[in-house]
Structure formats: C-alpha cells, structure tokens
Symmetry: C2
Amino acid sequence: MIEAFLREAARICGGAHVVAGAAIEPRYLEPARYAPGRAAALLRPASTAELAQLLPLAGRHGLRLVPQGAHTGLVRAATPEDAARDVLLATERLREVFELDPLDRTLRVSAGYRLAEINERLAPHGLMLPIDLSADPSVGGMLAHNTGGTRMLRYGDVRANTLALTVVLAEGQVLRLGRGLQKGNAALPLQQLFIGSSGSLGVIAEATFKLARCPRQQAVALVAPSSVAAVMPLYQRLMDELGSLVSACEGISRPAFEAALACGGGERARWFGGELPEYALLIELSSELPAEQLDLQALLQRWLEAEFGERVADAVLGADAACWALRHHISEGLRARGKVVGFDVALPRRHFMAFRAAGRAWLAEEFAPAELADFGHLGDGGMHFNLVWPKGAPPLDEARLRAGVYALVRRFEGSFSAEHGIGPQLQASYRQLSEAALLDWSGRLQRLFDPAARLGLTDWGPAAQ
Amino acid sequence: MIEAFLREAARICGGAHVVAGAAIEPRYLEPARYAPGRAAALLRPASTAELAQLLPLAGRHGLRLVPQGAHTGLVRAATPEDAARDVLLATERLREVFELDPLDRTLRVSAGYRLAEINERLAPHGLMLPIDLSADPSVGGMLAHNTGGTRMLRYGDVRANTLALTVVLAEGQVLRLGRGLQKGNAALPLQQLFIGSSGSLGVIAEATFKLARCPRQQAVALVAPSSVAAVMPLYQRLMDELGSLVSACEGISRPAFEAALACGGGERARWFGGELPEYALLIELSSELPAEQLDLQALLQRWLEAEFGERVADAVLGADAACWALRHHISEGLRARGKVVGFDVALPRRHFMAFRAAGRAWLAEEFAPAELADFGHLGDGGMHFNLVWPKGAPPLDEARLRAGVYALVRRFEGSFSAEHGIGPQLQASYRQLSEAALLDWSGRLQRLFDPAARLGLTDWGPAAQ
C-alpha cells in the first residue's frame, strides 16, 4: 500500500525526493533531546504547488503528515512516531521565494529557509529578522512554535514580526493570508491561528516578515545584584530609565553560571573576582544611533555607577562576546553534569522570584539529588527552569517531577510552555493543565481544518471519550 | 414576543438596563458618519456573568446581538439595522476589572472602559496604553477593529499590545484566552481570531494589555520635502538613522493642509512662510531618556540641517502642539468644504506615492469635481485617501467611485481597509475583493463560533447561494 503512495508522490516531487522508511537518513529521525522516531516515508517537496498535491494524496492513503523544518524543536513536534502511518514532510527544499523589499523592510520567504542564512543575506542591507536563538530553525519551524528568543523583549516574538502567511490545508487548498503590508484589517486574521499551531491545522509554505534595522552599536554588562530580592527592582529601574534601548535582559543562576564556566564559558576569575553571585543579569543595550550621538557604553556605565555605587565592581561592562559566550555555554555545561530535565516556563514578573524560591524548596524536599540550574529570559518572564539529575543518582520519576513543577507554575499564574510550543512531549501536560472550554474549542477548530487528523502530532482537543 | 425577551433580560441585568426599541437614546443609534440605525431593544449588562446569560437568551428568542462600545467606529459595525430583530448590546457598563500591574506593565481591564480614561488613570504611574487616536473608543471596540492610529509605527496595533482576552460565545460559554504574560505558547492562539473580528464570533468582555513607558521628552517637526518624489527617500533615511526614536510619521497633502488651516488649524504664515508644500511630513521623536542624556530636539535639528541644508526653513521644529493641532483639524476642515468620502487604505511603502498619483489622475478624469485631500499614517503605509465632493456639484455615484478606488488599491497591492475594519459599510467590497478560498474558510470559521448568525453585522463568508 505504501508503495502505491510512494509512486504517486514521486510523480509529484521527483523520485529523488521520496524516500521509503528504511532508507531515511538519521538526521530526519533523531531529535535534539529525545529518542529517535520512525516513519513510513520521507517527502521533500520543493514548492507550494507540490505541497498542494501531496497533502490530499497522503489523506487518500490514510497517512499522517509530520512537517519538519530544521528539526531543532524541543517538544518532538517534528519527529514522526509511527513506522506504518507517519510520513515525514521535510520543508528544507521549499526555497522558491526570497523577496526583500528594503523600503518596506519586508521579506517574503519560503518556509525552508533557515534563520542564519536569512540574516546573512540581509546583513549587507543593514536589516535583520530580529529573532535571536542558539538554534538555527527554519522559517516554518519558527512560525509553528512562535519562537521568542533572547531579544524578544525589544523586538517581540515571531508573531509580532509576521505580516502574511501562505498555508496549504489538508485537502490541498492554498490560503494566502494577509499581505506584506505593515497594517491591514480587511479580513478575519486566519493567519494568526497557524502561528504557534505546532505543525497542525495546515502546512506553512511561505511567510512575509517585518524586518528590523541592525543596530550600529551595542553595550553589554553582566551584573551581580546584591541579592535575589534585588533583581526585579533593578530590572524595573533599568526598564524605566533605559527601556527602549534594552535589547536583552537574561537571568543566570549561580549553578548555571558554574556549569557554563566548567565547559568553555570563560575564566572564573574575570567575573566578579571569581565570587559568583546567586543570580546574575546579562543586560544588552542596542541602538541604530552612532556612538557620536549616543554613547551606549558610557550611558550604561553611568547607569551602573548610579545603581551600584561603590560596588560597581559587581558589574562587568564591555565584554560583549564573553558575556554572550557565557550565556550560550549554559546548556552544554548542564549536559556535562548529568541528565538535564528542562522546563520552559513563563511567569508574571511579579511572581518570578517567588516561583523560583518555591521551586527550589520543593525540589530540595522531594527530589533531593536534583540541582536547579535555572536561567533564561528574565525580562519577558521566561525561565528555563532546568535541573540536573546527577550521574549515579537513583532513577528519576520524571512524571511526578513534571506534575509537581507544573502545579507550582499554575500556583504562580505562569505558563507551562513559554516558547517551545506543544508537541507529543507536552501533550499530556497540555490536557491536564488547560481549561475544558479551551480544549473543547481548540479541538473543534482543529477538526474544522483537519477533520481526519492527517496533520502533525499535536492533538489540541480534549482526550477522546 | 420581544416583551418576553425584555422581561427575561431584565431579570438578568436589571430593568433599568433593558430598554425597548422606541425608548433608546439617539446616541446609541446615530453613528459618526452615517444615517441612524434601529433596534428592537438595548441591553446594558454590567458583567461577564450577565453576558453569559444574555447571549443564549437572545439566541433562544431568534434575536441578533450587535455589540457596541463607544460607537466611534467608521464602518457601521456597531449600529443595529433591524427594528424587529436586532438587539443592541452596549458594553459601557462592563467595568468590573481594572487591574494594573506596574512591574509586569500589564493592565487587565473590562471591555467597557474607554481609551482616554485608561490613559488618565495610567499617567501617574508613567505608563500608557500606546494607542493614539482622535476618537475615544472603548476597549472592546479597539479590539474588534484592531485599531492602529498615529503611533502604530512605534508601538504596533492593538493586537501587538494584547496579551489575553475573555470572550463570551453565542451559546454562553466563557473563554479565557491567554494570560497576562509577556509570552506563552501553551495553547492554540484563539484570542487572535477575535481581534479584528468586527464584533462577530463572540463578545469581548475583558482584555489584558501590555503597557508602554510614557516618554520623558518628544520633538516634533513639520517638514516640506522638495517634491513628492523626495518624500519616501526622506522617510527611508529618517528610519535608517533615527528609526527607533520615531514615534510618528504622518503625511499631509496640500489640500488637507489648506482645509485644516481654514478651520482652526493655525495661521498660514507660520508654516513655510505661507508657501505650503505639495506634501508635508509630520515627524515625531520620543524617548524615555531625559534630555541631559539625549536631546531629541537638538538631534532632530541636526538631522534636519543635514537633510535640508540651506533650505532648512522648509522644516518647522519645536511646535509640537501646533503641528498636532494642524494634523487633528484635517477631518473637520474637509467636512466644512463639502461631502467627504473617506477611504482608509494601506499600501506597500514602495507603491505609496505611485498609488496616490494614479488615484489623483483617475479622479481628475472620472470624477472631475472631486478634490483629493489625502493624509494619514505614511510611516506604516496607511493613507486616508479622502476626497471632498463640493457642495453644489452634481450627485456623486459613490458605488462607481468606490469600485474604481479599490481597483486601484488592488493594482498597487494594497489593502482596502487599513485600520477601520469591516462592517456593513464595507461588506460588499469585502466580498468582491477577497479571494474565494479566504471567504470560504472565514465563513466556516464564523459558523463554527456562531452557527445561527446571532452576533454582529458582518458576514465573513461568501454570498449565500
């Protein structure tokens, strides 16, 4: 049966781009943090027109399509599971369109392009797609999870930078939603539904993004607030006084700091004389003004002096690359220490530190060997509440851990998925933690677009009766 | 039959807030630009709980509910039409919630609050909801049309400032969508559907907005580019060099300028020695930095000197109130000259001036007595392509005019509704100008949420067969 499907698919996108299950290269099946998946076949279409034929074809054969961009996601939404029924739909060859409009500062681009390549091509024009991540996702993947990243505080999430989408629906209709305009309210905003839908509802073929001017200067400081209690008031004053210049404000707990240092993140002695604070902040200012008009480094220095007074040594200024290298070595550093269990949560800023304290206390009581090494996007309330389960410790009851952490998140009015989206990894938590009315209407909406459940691995509805 | 409905409604929201058709005060039925409407009754609920009972009640009685906020919209979406069947649902008493969180910079607020009151209450905290309009709409109305306004360039539209919504559906379910978090991707983004839905799909009861810091200084200039062709290049350099400080960039054509001057917009002689340019730009910079750190007035002055050289008299700097008064007198000035026919369109910036030239030429040929007096939000591509049909001219064929303008908008890849939304006023144009697939899926979506067509006056689907 699958053979008939493969033959027909090959007629649509060429034999070289239709691969039977056993012959799929491992990179398509091996996600970043989890066990490998399985698929009946791999398709690599090159155009919207091919997508429009492949989607109904898969439906007629009773197969489920799993769209996959760069396979950098962290919720297993792009890793097929079922060797008999799942067909992997790789979007990497969707590269039909790359249309830059420098006056409008917009980019119309096919779903298969990746973030780094886009920004390389935009740099000569002084423009950028202002999403900043350690990973290098595709356009489609970023849209599917509404990615945030370290500069969301200034530039917003992917949704805030998306002006239009082209999607292909399960039955093959092509919907062109929105235009490449900065504004326009001449239709229901259907495009918004597909942003953050984790590859369900439809396959994103193309997007039009709003671009930002690359900054002409930046200033970075790593600061050590006098205590955890001092962090949020410091952040509030920063935003009140320099807010529109702040392009990132990242939080780093001491264990995360230690882990990064132990793993290539730089020399300990250069940071605060080697006395690491319980919680550090990485602050970045950016501007398109040249330093002659506004000297960011001097401005940040004056602000730090006013804030820290005699303790100004508790701030390290002017080490942009070193600060960011430290930040970007955290994940690797944690992996070197044991099994990492990651929680990508968001909190109201007013509860951020209280949640952290409660989580720490709860872990100490219930999961004693665990080491909390949180870090993340403090400025927008995002927290990677990550912990290390040391090598050699007894087996971890991950389900109980997860339930406990999410109960705390709920108590502090947070979100159990800040920017990684929902996929099989969070499917059960999603059902447990969401209100019945939301599940009900989300399920109805999904069935409207995909009545036979042919797209993606996420089920937005309530559990089947 | 309506009597039974009124009795039951009075039990829900109190007799004083249920009014039979003939007794409705004129302000509820008289929209800004159009003929008065008619309604079978007026309801003024005070809470989400009352809404949840009223919506299904109206459905059981076969009535259609027309939500109305401050009744400032320009597409007749809030003016009921049918004296037998339409029930006006005024949201002005929905004032249950006004919860400011200064650390998170969020405001949870009921739909009945109006923009001016919100910003008055936020000002002492140095915060604002950064939507800037001549009108004073309600929270619900702004959301229903995804309002833009003069500072959208800097702060985005209403959607960009909305974190969460509470909506009541036709059958009475209350959906709480999103949280007051800066980020969160733990559900399908259903709330996005209701923003810009013109009062259909559901009734918005409450919203949580992201707030902005009020600026500590502003600098405003009115400038006269040497020609229409010079306008967009000037804008591009402005954004390239000072972009993140620009909070408004408005365009004013000479006829619009003349009209404003004739109607209280200020003295002619103070502007460019009385020699009005064919097209003027109003530029505003804002910052939360104090002038000691960055002097916006000096910065703008230097930029104008570099741009205009010896012709620097073609820029009027430091007359903030006068510049904005001029801008805000345009609409009134046009009304004094004759019948105003307004088109709220948006263009890609690259086609903005070409569209304007083509529109002007077409009007001169086909509608000779018409005077084009366009103005608007040049920075975000928004153009109020407004024309005056002089008093005493022969009757205007408005349908032919509208069709011709929209054909041009389409030729230049624009939107026929930039920020006023769709309502009965644009219903026919919406059907004519939208792609069949978009109409089809929008109609399906509307029927999902409102199967019996009980909510609002906009039909998002294709014409009935």
